[in-house]
Chain length 304, copies 2
């Protein structure tokens, strides 16, 4: 079992009420890969510049992430800078420098093309389509998107949706894509556009999964200290898709709900510290322990 992920590798400069970090490891493909690697083999597709610190690649390699699809281009790595305030529910982007990511064209090595699952992080829908044309018979195609593409490339995005089994996006994106304020209606509308399964991420409020006619809700793991929410959504997706891939991409209701729990728990580690500082130290025993605790927090022991 293996998952191909296409997305960004970045150097993030972040300010939150807890502090700030300059040029720390980030990017959707990095968070996703690290989380998914708890469950399955990950094959990464992306691009970095010559300035990308070698230690970051070593971190991914140590987690068994296949970097055959990683391009190193002349120029600087993608940089993003943002600030979180108050309840940190939204980042304010201070600066985006696409650098080598601006001209990125994903090319899947031959060894990737038979992967049974694909995760298309929030890259340009044209590139998402391009990736889909390069894989042979994936059993599970999952995708994320962002406000930029919903506005600027809505038609292309709509074109992709029927080819996606599992759409993962946040509450604001779901509202923007559907014009619905209520998230249950929004989720149903997205399903009607193609994907049989939809996850709407709600940040500190958890997530809603639409699985066929069923719906599942998992609240976020309650934390006393959230230091940096960057990467929470991609970490969630990594845990979610990684677990489903391990379960042979069988999208049963039980597997999907369990995957939602794993995604939730993994994301809770990411937000506890800046960048991947906490996630990279996390063991599977940590994950299992927090998962059991989350179930005790959420699931009733008796219903008399």
């Amino acid at each position: 079992m293996s998952v191909v992920v296409v997305g960004s590798l970045a150097l993030d400069t972040i300010q939150t009420p807890s502090g700030e970090r300059t040029e720390a490891l980030g990017g959707s493909a990095v968070y996703f890969s690290t989380a998914a690697s708890f469950f399955t083999d990950v094959k990464l597709v992306g691009v970095v510049g010559r300035d990308f610190p070698r230690e970051h690649l070593d971190l991914l390699r140590r987690r068994g992430v296949d970097l055959a699809g990683l391009q190193t281009a002349e120029g600087s790595t993608f940089r993003w800078s943002g600030r979180y305030e108050g309840d940190m529910s939204q980042a304010r982007t201070l600066d985006t420098r696409l650098n080598v990511f601006g001209a990125f064209r994903p090319v899947l090595p031959e060894s990737y093309r038979d992967a049974d699952a694909v995760f298309l992080a929030n890259i340009d829908p044209d590139l998402q389509l391009d990736v889909l044309s390069q894989v042979r018979r994936p059993k599970m195609v999952a995708a994320d998107t962002m406000n930029l593409w919903i506005t600027s490339k809505r038609d292309r995005l709509i074109e992709i949706l029927p080819r996606v089994n599992l759409m993962i996006l946040n509450d604001a994106e779901a509202r923007q894509l559907t014009g619905e304020t209520g998230l249950v209606k929004a989720g149903r509308k997205i399903q009607a556009l193609g994907p049989s399964h939809v996850v709407i991420k709600k940040g500190e409020h958890g997530s809603i999964l639409f699985s066929g006619k069923n719906v599942h809700v998992v609240p976020a793991y309650p934390l006393e200290d959230v230091r940096d929410p960057t990467g929470a959504g991609d970490t969630f997706a990594g845990g979610f898709i990684g677990y489903l891939n391990k379960m042979k991409n069988r999208l049963t209701d039980d597997n999907l709900h369990t995957a939602q729990y794993y995604g939730t728990v993994l994301a809770s580690f990411t937000v506890e510290e800046f960048s991947l500082d906490r996630l990279k130290r996390t063991t599977f025993a940590d994950v299992r322990s927090r998962l059991r605790r989350l179930v005790r927090i959420v699931a009733p022991r008796k219903l008399s």
Copy 2:
């Protein structure tokens, strides 16, 4: 087992994206009583004017609510008018006419004074203290509050907290009371002010219960159509406290978590229609059925 509730009876004029209603039955004590009456005997303390429609009192009587503590004063009933927009997470108050509620002094009939539980809805903290001086040995004292009292009567509110076992308030109030943005920290700070148990209500995102050192999170029941959120919080409190009262006020972790589920489910009926239109038609079989469904939606069936 019985619960004394002190709060408002009101005629609400409400606009939401789904429509509007004029002078519909409302008020914290009305929602609370109706919800709590699924589980236990409710003794209401409040005031109405001579204009209060008799049918509303008949509704409460049919649910077995004891109205011996209801005063009928010369003048008009309390009226509130508000509008909800967008995601309906907050009401914008258009008009408040306290009328007879402005001069309200709660007087507990002798038959109320041995009640084993008290719920102090969000009335003036001075009146909340007054009520506590009139009950003899309640085993459970629960209270709500609102932004007005946190601002204008903070000292009195702080004075009450050590006499409250169970504080129930919403996310904005918890933040305002504690100065903490993070709700886990806010809940812990409120516990430190006195109440061993605290519930923070998060509207469409559910609630967090702080029970001693434990924490429980229950998401809201996912609904496709929310027509009017008015009264959801008081309905939650009624289900929550009513169930605990039925369980002999034993504030065990299991009882509290189950109570949180019942409060959540009852509130989901309230918001489906305006005023008490849906809640008053709800049977206990409806409640049990939705409770089982909520558990299936939330609790994982397996964790492999």
